[in-house]
Amino acid sequence: MSDPLVVVRDLVRHFDVPQGPFRAPARLRAVDGVSLAIAEGETLALVGESGSGKTTLGRCVLRLIEPDAGTVTIDGVDVRALDRRALRAFRRRMQVVFQDPYGSLNPRMRVGTAIREPLEIHGLARGREADARVARLLEEVGLDASFAARRPHELSGGQRQRVGIARALAPEPRFLVLDEPVSALDVSVQAQVLTLLRELQDRRGLTYLFIAHDLAVVRQMAARLTVMYLGRIVEEGPAEAIYRAPKHPYTAALLSAVPVPDPDGQRARIVLPGDPPSPVTLPPGCVFHPRCPHPLKDDRCRTDIPALREVDEGRRSACHYAEQTTPLAP
């Protein structure tokens, strides 16, 4: 793509997990060399289950957690090179919406105050002008302006999530990281919030990094998709193409695991054995091989780490047998 708004290259983030007083700490490779790019106005979905590293990656991109290595470039600016003060000022342009509507708002702050805060910090508005902007933002996310006086515990999950979105929009960012923004919401509320997010994107030309584990939800938002497993990208490409013909066995398994709301559309699921392993002790070779259902799985998978390579137009996969994956799809 020409001149993407967000470019991440070879991002790495490890955590050291204490193993007791007599052993060296274990290295948890949360994000293990991830690169991606998002064009302006586009939505890139980051998909994975627990332990995939998607949340950590989202926070690293915003420098809410410091990456250990790699670069993050937003709107041409090297985010990692900014000093503390410059970073704080730059934060105007990149914001975040979290998953948990019950933890993402300060319980002791009124809604209006929370939405105002970014305006005040970045010197965008004060006093009555700020109040007016807060009212407009509330209306933009579908809440009545009177919500400004309420406290979070008086609101429902869907309403809190809208407040979180209003707060993120206050400094007029260009880029938004949405970390599982609808996972904790009921189906109808989820539909409302997804519709809202799409409208906002159209109206304001926002760029989204949409982190989720539910592929059906992702289909509502993203034209391009990146699948993560144990800190690495295993597949990426245009969303519809991946849904029709995944090129990595993990993606195929993820797709088949999504429940289908149609009793006639039920199909045989690819059931992966075992649990998602912990990112502390990575298996040798392909990290997915212990659970991999690919019929062509062999010794090579146990010893050689597959590189993320181009398998088709605009599509990449980290599987030795990517080309023969599609028959796996349900």
């Binding site: 704080r88 000022a89 914001q95 933890g103 993402s104 300060n106 319980p107 979070p152 707060r167 993120a168």
Partner: protein, 269 residues
């Protein structure tokens, strides 16, 4: 407002009023020896609702003025402890690493010594302590528990998404602590403070009873109990006056503390 909270507030409110208006409410001068011939150790009567002590001082007046003394000392001491405890707890909870470890080891050391002994040891080095010094010593020995509570609460708040959201909005560290972290750690601090006042009153009474607290003839509930000590059988009302006041006050603050704890907890998300 729960019943407990209302009761606690009313009781403590009454105590505060009494303490403030003691000079107006007390019928006599608390240190005036009214009638050394016939007025000693008089049982409670119309003229002296709580009786008189061995120096023929009116006990009611002494108890009322004692409220002033005890409450002032306790409040200032607790404000000192709470401030220290909060600062240490915040620092330890937010910084982590070796700073946290060092501070917490200091707290452990402080908590290992029973407070009364710590106080006695310090006070023994001081002959004839002044009230101000007493307050300082009480305050400086009382912050350990609070710092632990605050640190735990800070660590729990730190991990919550709204803190990350504030950082993402560009909130600077000072504002983050003052507007986001502190208000959400207020609950244990407030409760700790309220219960702390009750406890300090007890400690101060104990010290004064031992003769190492408020210097006579200034009335304090502790030294009123002490004055009555040799006459426990003949004139039990003397010690009872001081003791009763202590019991009532500590109960009042405990009820208030419990009520506040209830009120502050479920409201939080």
């Amino acid at each position: 407002m729960s019943r407990r909270l209302r009761l606690g507030t009313a009781l403590v409110g009454a105590l505060v009023v009494v303490a403030i208006f003691a000079p107006a409410l007390a019928p006599y001068d608390p240190i005036a020896q009214l009638d050394l011939m016939d007025g000693r150790n008089l049982p409670p009567s119309g003229a002296h609702p709580l009786g008189t002590d061995l120096y023929s001082r009116d006990l009611l007046s002494r108890v009322l003025h004692g409220a002033r003394v005890s409450l002032t000392i306790a409040t200032i001491a607790v404000v000192l402890s709470i401030t220290l405890g909060t600062v240490v707890g915040l620092t330890a909870g937010l910084t982590g690493g070796w700073v946290d470890a060092a501070l917490m080891r200091a707290v452990d050391a402080g908590l290992a010594i029973p407070r009364i002994f710590l106080l006695l040891a310090v006070l023994a080095l001081w002959e004839g302590i002044s009230v101000l010094a007493l307050v300082l010593v009480l305050g400086l020995t009382g912050w350990f528990g609070t710092s632990r509570l605050v640190r735990a609460e800070v660590q729990s708040v730190r991990g919550r998404d709204f803190i990350a959201a504030a950082c993402a909005a560009g909130v600077g560290p000072l504002r983050l602590v003052l507007r986001h972290v502190l208000p959400n750690t207020a609950a244990p601090i407030i409760v700790s403070a309220t219960l702390g006042v009750g406890y300090v009153i007890l400690v101060e009474a104990g010290l004064s009873y031992l003769g190492m607290g408020v210097p006579p003839p200034l009335p304090s509930w502790g030294n009123i109990i002490r004055d009555g000590h040799p006459f426990l059988v003949l004139a039990p009302w003397i010690s009872a006056a001081g003791g009763g006041a202590v019991v009532l006050t500590v109960m009042a603050f405990t009820v208030l503390g419990d009520g506040l704890q209830e009120w502050l907890d479920p409201r939080r998300a």
